[in-house]
Symmetry: C2
Subunit: 345 residues, 2 copies
Amino acid sequence: MIPNDLFLKACRKERTERTPVWLMRQAGRYLPSYRILREKAGSFLKLCKTPELSAEATLQPVREIGFDAAIIFSDILLPLEAMGIPLSFEEGEGPRLEPVREEKDIERLSIPDPEEALPFLMKSISLVRSELNGSVPLIGFAGAPFTLACYAIEGGSSKDHRKTLRLLYSEPGLFDSLLDKITAATIPYLRAQVRAGADAIQLFESWGGILNSRTYRQFALPCVRRIFSSLKDEGVPMIFYLNGSSHLLREMAASGADVLSIDGRLPLGEAFQRTSGEFALQGNLEPSALFAPADFLRKEAASIVSGAPRRGHVFNLGHGVLPGTPVDSVKLLVDSVREFSRSET
Amino acid sequence: MIPNDLFLKACRKERTERTPVWLMRQAGRYLPSYRILREKAGSFLKLCKTPELSAEATLQPVREIGFDAAIIFSDILLPLEAMGIPLSFEEGEGPRLEPVREEKDIERLSIPDPEEALPFLMKSISLVRSELNGSVPLIGFAGAPFTLACYAIEGGSSKDHRKTLRLLYSEPGLFDSLLDKITAATIPYLRAQVRAGADAIQLFESWGGILNSRTYRQFALPCVRRIFSSLKDEGVPMIFYLNGSSHLLREMAASGADVLSIDGRLPLGEAFQRTSGEFALQGNLEPSALFAPADFLRKEAASIVSGAPRRGHVFNLGHGVLPGTPVDSVKLLVDSVREFSRSET
């Protein structure tokens, strides 16, 4: 029995007395308590890989801000490391991976058993579940295969993903074989999270929006569909986040997800229309709006709540919380969403 | 009299015997002759600021590939430098600007007389015009104010434009004052290019797609409208390129431009429908497709030509030519567009 099941109900498009709210990257640098924990861990990877610490990072925002869902503290790149791609995080910089661009690099990649290769994550999920004691649901997650392939090919994050697109067009077969391996590793990885206690799962397609619809359908979408269809029997809500999806709503609708998570560029009302009201929607305040004065922030929150479907809306940002975001603004946002959505229903 | 006026006719939505083609960044690193010229100049900025050299860089692709239009070789950031923002290009890196983030930084910016501050550009335009001797039209250009503001605030290019968005939301008045100054500098800058001999102008809004439609309408669009409406009396075709515009077609249609230049993510047929067929369209092959095998490239070109309106299509990429693009692929593309569009009409 989960006392606060607003999030799960909204995912299922059931009626809720108010709109549930959680934020992508709700655990992280903007929280003073997180920064202390991060200091204590010594490194970001250490924090991710120490179950007690990552469980604590997961719980901090739920306790301090009062979100309606927890999301396990981890990083989308850890499964790539488990597949055999060396990964590091330099202080103050983005992630670095040993680039995967040739057939021999791809052939070397393994499909790990997640329980063996990432035991810390499953342990952290169990710890969080027992600590939450059913108070709010817990979300597990993974990066979508195309997005992970971008990171693997570029060797980190990239402004324009030139190397990725170049490989995709020049060696589509090779590109597909990389996607295939990542997909095969992602399915047991997410299943293990559900079995360890995740109440819902989210797939993060951060870079899919750089592709046109034809290319997205050819390369990226089949992987996403394979993941969601394989995991359907687990019976948990499945959320698909696709950044920059204004031209890919048909593809999102064909993904097999229950909930479509929309970035800040497309009004939710329009996303609802264009997907025939079939899906629950998650989103979609622009993260930078949390730097705006209180009045403006409240107006933006109200506008998103009133433009969203009444049933089946999970309030979130269109992208992750930015470092330096004022904690008071996050609290104000959560309070505002509650207030407005209660008066709407 | 311009013998090859296909480009200008297509901009005006007049019937043409085939589709004209030019490519954003058609002058540049992928051309061996450009690399020799760049070496000779010593630095990128020197190349831009030496009329004989920048004229030569402009003419190279027209001579070697046979494009239907020339675009003056320059950089969108030069007007910012002329406004008083120190600019440099480090070898192998992007541009660096002294960041503009505070009121005093903005107050210090000047609105330069382009003839005085950027005489090399006007001189280069005259040289190109006389060298082309009317064989193909010449395009002048500028960055759109929001995009230039992004560069000024970030101090260069950026993956996520955090500082820009943060300033926009936290100090909208300050942000507007920066946009206002850039807009005021851009109008005489483009006018001077037309008077020096540019037959058409293009405004590059490389970063506008990060904004949602409401924010784009509030901050960025008024600047673009002011520029196009001020320059309308010059009587040359005006092209508006907005990267990532799938959610901003209404705003593009309200910009005052004659030609909308669409990136590779939105099929031209859809852009045509959504803008009621009112505008000539430019685009929109994904630049990475030039790395694909010949068969695939020809198919992509054919698909874009057949999906575009019959009148009022200027073939282009959805973004600039990438460094390392095979020259033979560019030639094949140009030939394919000519062949397919001739058989279509």
